[in-house]
Symmetry: D2
Subunit: 463 residues, 4 copies
Amino acid sequence: MKLWGGRFLKNSADELTRFSRSISFDTRLGPYETRVLGAWADELFAAGYLNDSEKKSIKSVLKTVEDEIIHGTFVPEDEDEDIHTAIERRVINEIGQTGGKLRLGRSRNDLVATDTRLLVMTELECIHELLLSLEKTILSKAKEVKDIIIPGHTHLQPAQPVLLSHVLLSFAWMLERDRKRITFARNRADSMPLGSGALAGTSIEIDRERLAHKLGFSELSENSVDAVSDRDFVSDALYALAMIMIHLSRIAEQFVLWYTEEFSTAKLDEEWCTGSSIMPQKKNPDIPELVRGKSGRVIGDLVSILVLMKGLPFAYNRDMQEDKERLFDAIDTASSSVSVMKKVIEATNFDKESATRVLRRGYICATDLADYLAKKGVDFSTAHELVGEIVKYCESERKQFESLTIPELKKFSELFEDDALLALDPHACVEARKARGGTAPDEVERQIGQLEKNLVDIEGPVC
Amino acid sequence: MKLWGGRFLKNSADELTRFSRSISFDTRLGPYETRVLGAWADELFAAGYLNDSEKKSIKSVLKTVEDEIIHGTFVPEDEDEDIHTAIERRVINEIGQTGGKLRLGRSRNDLVATDTRLLVMTELECIHELLLSLEKTILSKAKEVKDIIIPGHTHLQPAQPVLLSHVLLSFAWMLERDRKRITFARNRADSMPLGSGALAGTSIEIDRERLAHKLGFSELSENSVDAVSDRDFVSDALYALAMIMIHLSRIAEQFVLWYTEEFSTAKLDEEWCTGSSIMPQKKNPDIPELVRGKSGRVIGDLVSILVLMKGLPFAYNRDMQEDKERLFDAIDTASSSVSVMKKVIEATNFDKESATRVLRRGYICATDLADYLAKKGVDFSTAHELVGEIVKYCESERKQFESLTIPELKKFSELFEDDALLALDPHACVEARKARGGTAPDEVERQIGQLEKNLVDIEGPVC
Amino acid sequence: MKLWGGRFLKNSADELTRFSRSISFDTRLGPYETRVLGAWADELFAAGYLNDSEKKSIKSVLKTVEDEIIHGTFVPEDEDEDIHTAIERRVINEIGQTGGKLRLGRSRNDLVATDTRLLVMTELECIHELLLSLEKTILSKAKEVKDIIIPGHTHLQPAQPVLLSHVLLSFAWMLERDRKRITFARNRADSMPLGSGALAGTSIEIDRERLAHKLGFSELSENSVDAVSDRDFVSDALYALAMIMIHLSRIAEQFVLWYTEEFSTAKLDEEWCTGSSIMPQKKNPDIPELVRGKSGRVIGDLVSILVLMKGLPFAYNRDMQEDKERLFDAIDTASSSVSVMKKVIEATNFDKESATRVLRRGYICATDLADYLAKKGVDFSTAHELVGEIVKYCESERKQFESLTIPELKKFSELFEDDALLALDPHACVEARKARGGTAPDEVERQIGQLEKNLVDIEGPVC
Amino acid sequence: MKLWGGRFLKNSADELTRFSRSISFDTRLGPYETRVLGAWADELFAAGYLNDSEKKSIKSVLKTVEDEIIHGTFVPEDEDEDIHTAIERRVINEIGQTGGKLRLGRSRNDLVATDTRLLVMTELECIHELLLSLEKTILSKAKEVKDIIIPGHTHLQPAQPVLLSHVLLSFAWMLERDRKRITFARNRADSMPLGSGALAGTSIEIDRERLAHKLGFSELSENSVDAVSDRDFVSDALYALAMIMIHLSRIAEQFVLWYTEEFSTAKLDEEWCTGSSIMPQKKNPDIPELVRGKSGRVIGDLVSILVLMKGLPFAYNRDMQEDKERLFDAIDTASSSVSVMKKVIEATNFDKESATRVLRRGYICATDLADYLAKKGVDFSTAHELVGEIVKYCESERKQFESLTIPELKKFSELFEDDALLALDPHACVEARKARGGTAPDEVERQIGQLEKNLVDIEGPVC
């Protein structure tokens, strides 16, 4: 079935139908569409275009269709070009030509935009839930490993000692921003285009505010041309999802490094590893690798929609049908990636001994030695130079900081006193970073409290 | 000058210096950096690491440097690898080694993040202003052309008559969303990383809340590792800017079409056209074309930063230096594009006669004929078919709707009465679309009022 | 079934399996895999690891599986994680543990790379065929409309008269470059990785040259680490496909413009139009719009793979599994887009009368008037100025060039003689552009001959 | 100066001029433009539009301008909108209005395409040279470290022992493909558009073949519309450059990993490290990190041009001016990145002892133990299982393979004999992989010979 054709002398070419048909993917809009059509029937009834029994029979068949779609038993016919057609055909099949009244005053242009917005709102709410859940897992893991100090890296080189918990919490803060972006994107979708018709608005006397309220929208589109031309909300969703994936790719990279024999900071539980068809000893962290790779996928999805919209004149153009598959793909990829990363983190066991092994290398407390001097009045620029000289000396003597003696230090500055060596204890270095947001245990504890507060009060929808 | 080197036995290779030097572009951070360093000096003073005279002399030279940078007279030396180095060198040159105290407790990692965030906040506020200004221009133009009805297009084919004002206003509503995105992105930048040191926090007893307040930040970073690893705020800015450019590309495309001989809907004032080196008759709308092309540029900038961050482990990695040139490019491109599009729209004159010429073609009021029948009780699906038949009839008779007679119409349905022809008047079609957001003149008037309210109350910063 | 597990104490988590399973899409590699495994069995036989009856029974079941896959009757089991596993399981099911011998000396890493390369070679050969076919259609259409002169545009403004054929042929020349890119990409895939094992090569005494020859590869990979780490051939294919889509998007845009009421240069046959659910009069060119939109999709696919590979260390990483869905999507999108654009062009009818309508506007022969003066010795820069003055005069007098008189012209330059008006005939303008590649009819004829020669000699594979 | 304006009543708006002016970047085309104009003057002379003295004086001033541009002394005037204008103005300033004759028969559209193609040809030839040079460095380094066996990784987990040389050579093979892509892209640029005029061709009787030959082009554009509409050669160059950057990002990632304390496979010479402003001990590998980051930059450049061209109708549109800055940026980024990576590799010292340290962990020879059984007739699938069991046993006993005894092995299979332990020697594992392309020393030697042959015969242009 097609929703047009009266003016046509010829049938569509088969290849056209195959190429432009969207029902293979837009069935996913079905449960939103039936809700929308039900609310539309109410408005047509209110405006006098449907009588009570027409309305009831329409709503009843819509309910049946919705159930079928949700249970996967709805079967479109070959000639249904999209889900809108399939549903209208079905309604007419069931209740006769009266079903055709449901098409009055609206167009597929405003309908598809409405359906897709409802889907985006729902799906992003679910992803918000999943993010919360992932953050909670990170928080638990951070609490578990509070006593582990690891070498903090910059440029992947030993930088300063940090609490492992502090590093893990940094991932939660990334995700806190993702929650903001997801919420922002969800709210951008929350504006009802229904009633914009093909582009000019509708001549039916409906109450769009009432309609919006019934469908769960907080706002209305204010301009019918814009309403059918706009896919910003798809881009906004894709951008928020792409950022999640970039964050997950960074977390994944970190865990993949931690799992290496060379770092040996952590081990991934076997349940979450895969093996090799050729190398019998293998336990590979495929899941974080896949997640890392899938960041490319969602960035690609975002690029697709940006390119798609670039340079399109107003109002609806068929190019815009291409938004849906990329949107669905990004939603599914991000949802499942957030989900599995939660499991991966749960399944990761940190090994205190190996994790701290490298702390004794790399002069990782050098900054604290410079701070020591600076706190005695040496300007930091000079203190930095001096400690640099000490590092050079250690390298030439092939010794690490921990074997330095006070007399050796004094050769570089008379300001070094007996307590200087204390500065070189990683615990002291960590303790010292007490300013808000620093790695000192008390500060990390404060952070945990803060995050718990952020996470606990939220009561999200059930996904 | 370099801010490191104590531990090094050899000098840097010249090619390394050339390749990694950022001073050619990061001087743009200078005026923010001097502000930040001034505030840092206050904190060092408060914590007892600077005495009053040290603080004063440092702040005095920072002021001088700031003025020089703003006036373009600040000259970095060849060996300054970045603006941070150049400023510290200059401070030490002026007031001696005391200047080196200013480096205590912080790192370039937290400093550059702080500078860049301040820059993003300022620049996005300016772009917000420019958007407002562009919207006001659109609004004025929409008021100017209130009496013009043009053929509204979907698929670039005649669809339904709409008010030209309505179409112009649809562009303003796009930009309303851009303002939201820009504000969101600005607020994401508004979190102070200073005090995070290299990655672990600082051991200096500073009051980060006071510092943030002094620098104009509303929030603090809560985790020092995250604070130096994070460039989300750059992505957020680039995404918001890319969306502006996509909108401008669509508006540009629309105007380019309107300027064609074939559409002849509008003319661009000569002042805003360019000519050809070979074709003496040419007046080309180069500016909107360039804007359309520049959308690719900013999308590319966004992709660059997304790729850059993908898969980076914590914390700072030098890859992140690559964020700045793309950010600056996108800011400058979007700012100037918004600016010139305002001028282009001001310089566009709509020609009522040509603009309405095509209204008489394309059976553009067919929907209203179907609505006519539907309002008499025909289900819309059947009404649509019937009007399709009428179109087919007109095509075969080579006539437009306006020459149809009632008897001809009655051949298709007895429900057509004398008033049927009224439905075919574009004015009536436009008038009929009264539901909120529709193209009816009263609705468009309401929209104008709404937009004026949105725009007028805002008092932005001076850019 | 999994091809690993001996060393594992625990089973895989269900969610891991779902997330990492690739059989939903990699079944498409099946028919290549069975060919590859058959050839591998021959090598194992030659090296003495299989006896004749083992080899035969293995090859027989591989043949069965291949047939099943091709006919869509092959059903993987739930626990098969990928097509490699599914095939090995099936072989062992049919002939017992002997089937396990087939895994000797190779890994999924080299196997999947080999399969995918064979697929790319085959699919790109098919797309090459489709491009040829599209070019032939363009050529036919160009021959059909040889007598139509249209206004050539730059900046969408009237520039100079050109033969419509000349414009159509410009599309064929774009596609000529696409054929080169497709051939280049196909040849990049044509290098056999099989025998590289997991990454280090194989310890089995196989003859890789013989194997390559049997499988239809012209070259061998020369380094086993590179062989399993490399996905350049996927990028190369995606880039070539993205360029095809960009070209199609440009052609599509041109046709969409030509179909507008305003241009009315061409009409698309009804069979290839779609209608509207609300506007009964509509005939929309959805197919070229979709093709234009799908350019975003394939550009996104390309970006995905570029992001995916960025920063991956050697050798195989699981991220690389993400290459396949994007590759398949791009192949299918480009193939079907080339196919439908051929039909769209066939179904396009140019209307000589409307197409030439605008020729009389826009002073489109101004360049020839300047050339006229230049050929009489006026420097072109001055001639250009003078004709600019004439245009200005016409505008102020509201006349087109064709109503200019010789005395009027003489007011601008005494060099204008009676033949000057001839320069203003579009036919003469077109005729004058005789230099190679110009729009003069003889040159266009030469071009047609050249293209026919390019296209006719090629005998491609049957797709 | 502008090359148009005769028909204009008003001057351009200042902001238009600023926004559209390209001279800040297109001066880079200058030296190509002067060559092209010189050759054009010859053709105008041959066709009788210039006399001998006019030609000579024009060519003389072009030579002067070329020298000035090359030496950086050419100063455009404020009103020159682009380099074409600046050069024409200068010619006319020097020799009077005769200089205006040089504009006859061509347009900026064909001129800029010709200039840019010449630039691409030259720059890509230079990058080809740089790639050769980088490959030679890799080859030398590979020869230097022939005796080092390292753990080969897949999924960053220990996989099989490989020669370090073999891994290094894998990078050279990547670059071999880059050379092919660069050559392909260079050849795509090698087609002369000059003589295509604005879009329709030229009416001047020039010999385009002679002109092409003089300018160093091997081919001519065959269709004038295509010639001015086409920027494929820019995309092709950007794609080839993006692939180089992706390869460099992967090599960079590998070296950054090797430089970590945890891997300690290699050290980067101090000359090529940078330090930290806060942490005195730091030696960071900033250069490979920057290169890795810059891959995003060039991918972004590629995306920009793809987006830019998407959906542009024929022929020249001003959007296309946006191609140049991205092209120049990508050329400069890729050139300098190839250059510095050569230096980084030269400055890298591999440490045999640390590099081989991990070889004793990770059961890295497990595949060879399975091969051992398979060569005794066990099907590989079973052999793989059995060795998996042995790994499990070792894990539970906390022992590595090297401490296994024959009696222990015999518990798993009676087929293990005294020589089984030999299979567990990394040297033997490496030696065994003798099939072409494997890591066996003789095969690596063969590879070196092959690469030397590939590299040595090439005599490139001087850059």
